[in-house]
C-alpha cells in the first residue's frame, strides 16, 4: 500500500518518497497501520451473522468447502439460514453438519444427494429445497458479483425449472431469465490470500468459490496460507481484494474425499 507525500503538489507527476521500485516487490510494506481484514478465527469473522441470513457457501461436493466457517456456524448455532451452495455436504461433513444441527431452513443447490438427514428433513417438511441447474447457479452468482441484475440461459427451457419464469427467444433459441442472487454473506475457501484479500484457488477447489466471493455483500475467505502483499503475482490472482472483507487463516484442514478412486496397475 502506498503513502503518497505531497512534498511537491505542483510537480508534473506523482511523487514517491524514495527511489525504490515497488513493482511486484514483495519485501516492502510501508504502512504502519494496515486496514485490517484479518480475523483471529472463523468465529470472530462470522460473529455478526443473524438468524434468517442468506449465505453462499463455496465448494463442489466436499472439495473447496469453507470447513472452518461451517464449524463456526455450528458452534454459533445461528438458525433459519438460507444456504446457496452447489451441494449440501454429507451427513457428517460440510453443510451436513449444519443440517444435523437444524440450522438450515432452505437449500438452493443443483445436487443434494449423499445426505440421509437432508432427505429426512425434506420429507418431514422441515427443510425447503430449490433445485437449480448447476450452470444457472454459477452464473447467477457471477451476475451478482458483476453487477448484472439477471442473466439469460437456455438451461431448463421446457422443464419444470422453467415454471413461473419468463422465457424469451434470441436468435431462434429460447432462454430463461434468471435473477442474480443476493446473499448477506459469502463464505469461501481459498488456497492463498494476502492481507488485502487477494485470493488464489487451487485446482478444482476453485469451482464456485471465486464467483461467490465476488457476489457476497460481506465475503469471508478462509485460506490455507496467508502471504505478504506482493507475494502473489498480480497476474495470477483469481479474486481481487476489493471483493473480500474478511480473511481467516485456517489450520488442520480435513479436506475429506468423497469418492476415493485410484488407478489399477496393469496385471
Amino acid at each position: 500500500m502506498h503513502r503518497w507525500r505531497p512534498e511537491d503538489p505542483d510537480g508534473p507527476g506523482w511523487i514517491w518518497p524514495d527511489g525504490a521500485s515497488y513493482f511486484w516487490d514483495s519485501t516492502r510494506n510501508l504502512n504502519p497501520n494496515p486496514v485490517n481484514k484479518i480475523y483471529a478465527d472463523a468465529d470472530a469473522a462470522l460473529a455478526d451473522i443473524q438468524d434468517g441470513a442468506t449465505l453462499m457457501l463455496g465448494g463442489f461436493g466436499l472439495c473447496g468447502i469453507p470447513e472452518h466457517c461451517i464449524a463456526a456456524l455450528v458452534r454459533k448455532g445461528v438458525r433459519d439460514l438460507t444456504c446457496i451452495s452447489n451441494n449440501a455436504g454429507v451427513d457428517d461433513f460440510g453443510i451436513g453438519l449444519m443440517l444435523q444441527a437444524r440450522q438450515v431452513r432452505k437449500m438452493i443447490s443443483s445436487y443434494v444427494g449423499e445426505n440421509a438427514e437432508f432427505e429426512r428433513q425434506l420429507l418431514s417438511g422441515e427443510l425447503e429445497v430449490e433445485l437449480i441447474p448447476q450452470g444457472t447457479l454459477a452464473t447467477r452468482c457471477m451476475a451478482a458479483g458483476y453487477g448484472m441484475p439477471a442473466i439469460y440461459t437456455p438451461a431448463g427451457v421446457g422443464t419444470e425449472v422453467a415454471e413461473g419464469k419468463e422465457s424469451r427467444e434470441f436468435g431462434g433459441k429460447t432462454y430463461l431469465l434468471e435473477m442474480a442472487f443476493e446473499a448477506d454473506y459469502a463464505l469461501v475457501k481459498a488456497w492463498k490470500a494476502d492481507r488485502m484479500g487477494n485470493l488464489v484457488f487451487k485446482a478444482t477447489a476453485r469451482n464456485f468459490n471465486p464467483l461467490m466471493a465476488m457476489a457476497g455483500k460481506i465475503t469471508v475467505a478462509e485460506v490455507e496460507e496467508l502471504v505478504e502483499p506482493g507475494d502473489l503475482d498480480p497476474n495470477t490472482i483469481h479474486v481481487p481484494g476489493i471483493y473480500v472483507q474478511r480473511i481467516v487463516l485456517g489450520t488442520q484442514y480435513e479436506k475429506r474425499i468423497e469418492q476415493r478412486t485410484i488407478r489399477t496397475p496393469l496385471s
Binding site: 463442489f60 452447489n86 441447474p133 479436506k255 488407478r263
Partner: protein, 218 residues
C-alpha cells in the same frame, strides 16, 4: 448384445482428433478408456477442469482435484482450471464438441429425461440441464429397457424432462440409433441382435430397413 464397455467402445468411434469432450457419470465415463491411441481428445469436467487425466495412483490422491462425479482424478499436461461460471460458459457457447450422458428415457423427438422420478427423492439435476440445453452434439449411453422391462426409447418422455429435442444419437446394448423427422432410426445392430428384436424393445417410432449392419469397432 453389448456390455457397458461395448457401449462405451461404440461411442468412442464418435471421437475425432482435437475434440473437447464432456463425459457424464456411469457408462459415459468408460468412453475415456477407448480413446484411440494417438488421438488427442481433451476431457472437460464441468466442475472446472479441461484436460482431465486418469485416476491417481494410490497415495497420490488430491482432495482438491476431483471430477464432476466427485472422484479423485489427475490432470494431463496442458490442462487448465477455471471457475464454474466459465465452465458452463464454454458449455453454453458450444465449445464442447461431444457430450455423452446417461438417461432414464429418450423420446423419438430427441427429448431426454434423466434427473427426476416422481415419488422418489429428487437429488437434483446437477449440470445435466445446462449440458443438454447447450451442447451441439449429445450422445446418450443407456440400457435399452428399464428394470421393469419397459422400453426407454419412447414416443414421448413420461418422466420430467431434462431438455428438449437435444439428443443426436443413442447407443444401447441393442444398437446405435439416430433421429429423423418421424422418430428413431436404427443405424447399427449390436452383434447377434435382430432388427425385429430391436423393434420390439423400442416403443417409440423406429425406422429400420431390416438390413442394418452389425456394429464394427474397426
Amino acid at each position: 448384445m453389448l456390455d457397458k464397455n461395448g457401449i462405451a467402445r461404440t461411442i468412442a468411434r464418435e471421437l475425432k482428433d482435437g475434440y473437447y469432450v464432456n463425459l457424464g457419470i456411469g457408462i459415459p465415463t468408460l468412453v475415456a478408456n477407448f480413446i484411440p491411441s494417438g488421438m488427442e481428445v481433451q476431457l472437460q469436467s464441468e466442475n472446472g477442469l479441461l484436460g482431465m487425466g486418469p485416476f491417481p495412483w494410490e497415495g497420490s490422491e488430491d482432495p482438491d482435484l476431483i471430477n464432476a462425479g466427485k472422484q479423485t482424478i489427475t490432470t494431463l499436461p496442458g490442462s487448465s482450471f477455471f471457475d464454474s461460471a466459465m465452465s458452463f460458459g464454454m458449455i453454453r457457447s458450444g465449445k464442447v464438441d461431444l457430450t455423452v450422458l446417461g438417461a432414464m428415457e429418450v423420446a423419438q423427438n430427441g427429448d431426454i429425461a434423466n434427473w427426476k422420478i416422481p415419488g422418489k427423492m429428487v437429488k437434483g439435476m446437477g449440470g445435466a440441464m445446462d449440458l443438454v440445453a447447450s451442447a451441439r452434439n449429445i450422445v446418450v449411453a443407456m440400457q435399452h429397457v428399464n428394470k421393469a422391462g419397459e422400453s426407454k426409447l419412447l414416443p414421448r418422455c413420461t418422466l420430467p424432462i431434462t431438455g428438449l429435442a437435444c439428443v443426436r444419437k443413442v447407443v444401447t446394448e441393442l444398437g446405435v440409433f439416430g433421429f429423423d423427422q418421424e422418430g428413431f432410426v436404427l443405424l447399427e445392430r449390436a452383434p447377434g441382435v435382430t432388427c425385429d428384436y430391436i423393434r420390439d424393445k423400442t416403443w417409440g417410432h423406429l425406422s429400420s430397413t431390416g438390413q442394418e449392419p452389425e456394429i464394427q469397432w474397426g
